[in-house]
């Protein structure tokens, strides 16, 4: 866009600085997690640990029960992801490929709820879970995350690009609509499902206020809630906390690194947020 030499040089310098600033905190927390306690509190701070140790990881996973929190987070994130992929693709398919009364109105109502953040209506959600006596359960934790407004919109966009002729051909072959949904639509929107899946997984994994509200005992903590609560204790040590932070980030980082192309493409086409 701007090919002037001074601009190109400035671009390299500025972008490198910001990229370093973006990843520096991760490097620092990893180093802290691997240091011994005296090294963590040393002044001036040392960049690298002299005797790298995994004791903080043992402590956070074993003594502080983070393994259980990770398990809970995984259960919630995977159930939410599965449910959202199913509901979004089904509703997206219907809105993309069928004509029926009130289609525009129904779609507009769904879209209108997209922009309103969960924090606005968290109280009635809580009261509903409270009312059916399901507090502190996996059901309660997953319940608000089985649908995603944005997911319906996103899958509708993806499925609209599937040619009608393919669906017609399947119909002529005698396929019913459910079969078309499973064998044609889902099969042809794999890339979109992947991007949405990553997004749904990370949304459920990262959510903080909902578990904070519905969880009452430690054994139902999610990783986020466990980490936030642990660091609120009166006397805290940064070693185990850093180890906890590393553990909590790791799944996101792995998923992102593996699927970065799908994710970046998802943002490019629809403004998908991750």
């Amino acid at each position: 866009m701007f090919k002037e030499r001074p601009i190109v040089i400035t671009a390299y310098i500025v972008c490198t600085i910001f990229a370093l600033l973006a990843v520096m905190p991760f490097f620092w927390v990893l180093m802290t997690a691997l240091k011994t306690n005296p090294e963590i509190n040393a002044w001036p701070p040392q960049l690298f640990p002299h005797q790298p140790t995994l004791e903080h990881f043992y402590q956070i996973l074993g003594k502080e029960n983070f393994l259980r929190y990770i398990f809970n987070s995984l259960v919630i994130a995977l159930s939410s992801m599965t449910a959202i992929l199913f509901t979004s693709s089904l509703a997206g398919f219907i809105f993309a490929k069928y004509k029926f009364p009130f289609r525009g109105v129904l779609f507009a109502i769904i879209l209108a709820t997209a922009i309103i953040p969960l924090e606005v209506y968290v109280i009635p959600l809580y009261l509903m879970v409270f009312g059916v006596r399901m507090m502190n359960s996996y059901f309660a934790l997953v319940f608000p995350f089985v649908i995603m407004t944005f997911g319906v919109f996103f899958m509708r966009q993806v499925i609209m690009s599937i040619p009608d002729e393919l669906l017609e051909a399947a119909r002529v072959d005698g396929a019913n609509e459910f079969w078309i949904y499973v064998r044609v639509v889902l099969a042809l929107s794999k890339s979109g499902l992947m991007a949405l899946g990553v997004f749904a997984f990370s949304e459920a994994w990262a959510n903080f206020i909902w578990p904070l509200v519905v969880v009452t005992t430690k054994d139902m903590y999610t990783t986020e809630l466990g980490l936030a609560t642990y660091q609120r204790q009166f006397y805290i040590e940064y070693g185990p906390i850093s180890a906890g932070a590393v553990i909590s980030i790791l799944p996101m980082l792995i998923v992102f690194t593996l699927l970065r192309r799908h994710i970046m493409k998802g943002i490019a086409t629809t403004g998908l947020r991750g």
Partner: protein, 317 residues
């Protein structure tokens, strides 16, 4: 966003009536399928989204304590109390201050970086991925990492600032500095997303437009002001709205960063979501918290209407 009007229902052809009948039966079949497939999803939407949003508004007119038997209707009393609530006013001012700072800094930096990345297009994917790593990091661990960096005694930030001759700052303990600490974390966390979004918009500006301007002797600055920025206006507007909503809902970083650490009490920085959380789930004043939620709802809706108004205006011209 427009709702497409395409259709897959078979076009009427001049074939035999028998065939028409067959098609009509299929269309009925489709309607049944649409109802069966969409019905449950719509039901979930009504239960999990539409009903709670409306119920929040209803609650705000009641004195609602979940364990008390009577939940009397009190009209606008909650809202009147809201006007006299110093904590909520502080929270609102803090949140607005934070929001404006975070939006302006994040978007300005993101736009600059996205623009600069277009000059080094070949290297840009790696930069975008590095900048995107904080975006995929959840707020809680992100804030936990920064809390350690901000540590007044052992934190690396104070250590580095020491080289510049700046004395140790109490980042999270000083009521004037904590705002900037939270802004710093939030900008760091969200920058990458907006760099990528702006990148998409900037790549869509036709090259020949820029080249033509260059041939006409336009300086880079003139090209930026007269071509790039006007063409990016809709995307800039979109990002302002999205960023404002994201930052106005700030809660997890505040929850983490304002917790006292190592015996050093952190300053209790109040934000809107924090107030809602406290009133609803610590004091169980759910009607009152409902009124606070409605304020938040109105704020979000205003933003959406502003966006709608501007986009519509643009199309009309």
């Amino acid at each position: 966003m427009t709702v497409a009007t395409d259709s897959v229902s078979p076009r009427a052809s001049g074939l035999s009536s028998r065939r028409e009948e067959w098609r009509a039966s299929i269309r009925m079949n489709h309607l049944l399928w649409v109802v069966c497939a969409l019905g449950p999803v719509l039901a979930l939407f009504s239960i999990i989204r539409v009903y709670p949003i409306l119920e929040t508004i209803r609650l705000s007119f009641y004195r609602y304590h979940p364990t008390q038997r009577t939940k009397p209707f009190i009209g606008f009393d909650n809202y009147i109390r809201l006007l006299e609530d110093d904590a909520f006013r502080t929270a609102l001012i803090n949140t607005l201050q934070f929001c404006v700072l975070a939006v302006v800094i994040t978007l300005t930096l993101a736009f600059t970086i996205a623009l600069l990345l277009r000059s080094i297009e070949r290297a840009s994917p790696i930069y975008e991925i590095l900048l995107y790593i904080p975006v995929v990091t959840p707020w809680v661990p992100a804030s936990v990492i920064w809390k350690w960096i901000f540590d007044p005694q052992h934190g690396i930030l104070n250590y580095w600032l020491g080289f510049l001759g700046i004395p140790k700052l109490a980042w999270l303990q000083d009521e004037h500095i904590i705002l900037y600490a939270i802004v710093l974390v939030s900008v760091w966390k969200m920058l990458g997303y907006f760099v990528v979004v702006y990148g998409v918009g900037l790549r869509n500006i036709p090259d020949d437009l820029m080249e033509a301007a260059e041939l006409d002797g336009a300086t880079p600055w003139q090209r930026l002001i007269y071509i790039v920025i006007p063409m990016m206006k809709p995307i800039i507007l979109f990002t302002v709205i999205i960023a404002t909503i994201i930052f106005f809902n700030v809660f997890a970083p505040v929850y983490v960063l304002t917790a006292s650490a190592q015996g050093a009490p952190a300053y209790d920085f109040k934000v809107v979501i924090g107030e809602i959380y406290q009133n609803a789930f610590v004091f169980y004043r759910m009607g009152y918290a409902g009124a606070q939620s409605v304020v938040l709802l109105l704020f979000v809706l205003t933003l959406v209407f502003v966006q709608f108004f501007f986009l519509r205006d643009k199309r009309g011209v």
